[in-house]
Symmetry: C2
Subunit: 355 residues, 2 copies
């Protein structure tokens, strides 16, 4: 049944794709095993990650980007990821997109994923859904996440091109958070750019990117990460341009910086340009080797994760829960320290002891 | 040296505490080992988690709560966690608090923690810092996080009492996210309650809590999590009260619901009441056994995590990186499927093979 299902996925059969992803989401181990059929299709799709704070209009932007890629006759799949909504089954994001009318287009597949409470479950499910969609012949796979926390960053890291969406009028707190995730962005978008302050946000992002790049070039042992953060934040507060702040170190060529685009997703303004930009950044990365390096790194991270999950399964299989319960109680009752108890657990796991 | 440092922590020496936490943060294994000295102090502090969206005024609230607990002559420690700011070293949150003047009070210790890029590193660092602070005799340990993503939830879960901070005037998106984390809240706070719409937010939170409780009681196989989410969201959109929505199922006693408090942290309004409420919720949980259950669950989760980290160390020690690199390349070149490669990795780890 699993081999058959995998074959039908490779044939691009939508129902098989949906079924396979559900099995993977449920942690079905035979489904994982059957993924060996997809070994030859890895890397076939361009994976676009879209993230940004709630309210920045990511769903509308995703909707318009689907339209863009369809106009280029690409098959498009969307994975809408909602890590913080264990209740909703992630239906909210996906439904927003489906409502736009792409549901009737056979060249578009939209899938929602939500946390089912397991640690790391969501990035696992996303990474695997990606492999299935790639195998099914989707040429563009968009991963859209809500929010900009660490789990969103982890999820979106598997993308070939990461689009960071901003919006005018969010508080300083949001800006500070953004400072922490600037590094993962390949393309920056200021959406709702018809609002007041859009140009200011563009300038701020550019300034932060310039500072970041300048510091990277001129980094001395004393110019560590703390310096970068404080300088970026200083920049925001004093409204200086990046060039001024970057003055003490060698100036960075602007051509190295990720593009900062303006869009109004509602009206479609700037979406063509954004779509073209996403494609050209991808091509650039392919040509200069950055893409290969990134994909290798992503595979490496996934491999490590899968191995860890397999160990957890092994743990569960060998009756580890009973041992875990006894050790936890001993720690709670102050009879054992937590580190020593963990050592016992590890030793038992490696030996494959069952009690 | 490590045993000496641990002993000085147990004596409440601030410099030793700071040093020990830094060592743990850096992943120093001898420091982990030395934590066995703290086995007898586990559970000595009341741990308060404070989380909520950026801009909800959590730092000011934390500042005022420090004042409250100091007025009750409790020693207070704060762990300010900033998962999404790998750059800043988490200095931002901590600095905000230190600037309030608590820095000169020997009964207050404020510590910033930020992600240093390792997976799960931050919840690990937080959990261990907690053990050190507890050992050093702090009676209240406040964990404050930025944002409301999955990683923040994971971090704040180790708390005995979780305070969820809301604020009037955030968009619907925020409300939707909140629906996903309602379950972890023991006390709900609407801060900046002098703003328009504060009472509306209070009503919305109460309605969601009531729906949640009613569904939990009356849950049938068909009334799963999806139903809860859609009903909560429906509620928000139609402005109905929770009682109406809960009508089909048995009405829940209001005394079971977590309290929803209003504060204006800037002026201190409502902070006394909030502080008293946090303490009384803690006492209630201790008396009805919920606290014990929760701490046991938290120890269990930590034990599992520590065991997994120990395995990762074992992996690194046994030269696993070389094998990982070779397997990743094979997957990238489509010579191996990722699941099969992970199996090889797991097998090697368990056997302790070095190449």
């Amino acid at each position: 049944m699993y081999e058959e299902l995998a074959r039908r996925c490779l044939d691009g059969e939508v129902r098989a794709v949906a079924r396979f992803i559900s099995l993977l989401e449920d942690g079905d181990r035979q489904a994982y095993n059957a993924m060996s059929a997809f070994a030859s299709t890895i890397g076939h799709a361009q994976i676009v990650g879209i993230t940004g704070p709630p309210g920045s209009g990511k769903s509308t932007l995703t909707d318009k980007l689907i339209g863009y890629f369809r106009s280029k006759e690409k098959k498009v799949a969307v994975i809408a990821v909602d890590p913080s909504s264990p209740f909703s089954g992630g239906a909210i994001l996906g439904d927003r997109l489906r409502m736009q009318g792409h549901a009737v287009d056979p060249g578009v597949y939209i899938r929602s994923l939500a946390s089912r409470g397991q640690l790391g479950g969501l990035s696992k499910a996303t990474a695997f859904a990606l492999r299935v969609l790639e195998a099914a012949g989707y040429e563009i796979v968009i991963i859209e996440t809500v929010g900009v926390g660490q789990s969103e960053i982890d999820i979106v890291k598997v993308a070939d091109t990461v689009v960071l969406v901003s919006v005018p009028g969010l508080g300083d707190d949001i800006q500070v958070i953004k400072a922490g995730i600037m590094e993962i962005g390949d393309v920056f978008v200021v959406n709702k750019a018809d609002r007041d302050g859009a140009d200011r946000v563009v300038r701020e992002i550019r300034a932060m990117l310039e500072t970041q790049a300048a510091l990277k070039r001129g980094r001395s042992p004393s110019a560590g990460p703390d310096t970068l953060a404080s300088r970026s934040i200083e920049l925001l507060h004093h409204g200086q341009t990046g060039t001024q702040a970057a003055a003490p170190v060698e100036q960075t060529g602007l051509e190295d910086l990720p593009p900062v685009m303006k869009t109004v997703a509602e009206t479609g303004d700037g979406v063509q340009e954004l779509g073209a930009c996403i494609v050209s950044q991808f091509e650039k990365a392919r040509q200069n080797g950055a893409l290969q390096e990134r994909r290798l790194r992503s595979i490496k991270a996934q491999l490590k994760d899968i191995a860890a999950w397999q160990l957890m399964d092994r743990f569960a299989d060998s009756g580890g829960e009973g041992r875990l319960k006894r050790l936890s109680e001993a720690v709670y009752l102050r009879k054992k320290d937590i580190y020593g108890a963990a050592k016992e657990l590890t030793a038992a796991l490696v030996k494959g002891e069952s009690t």
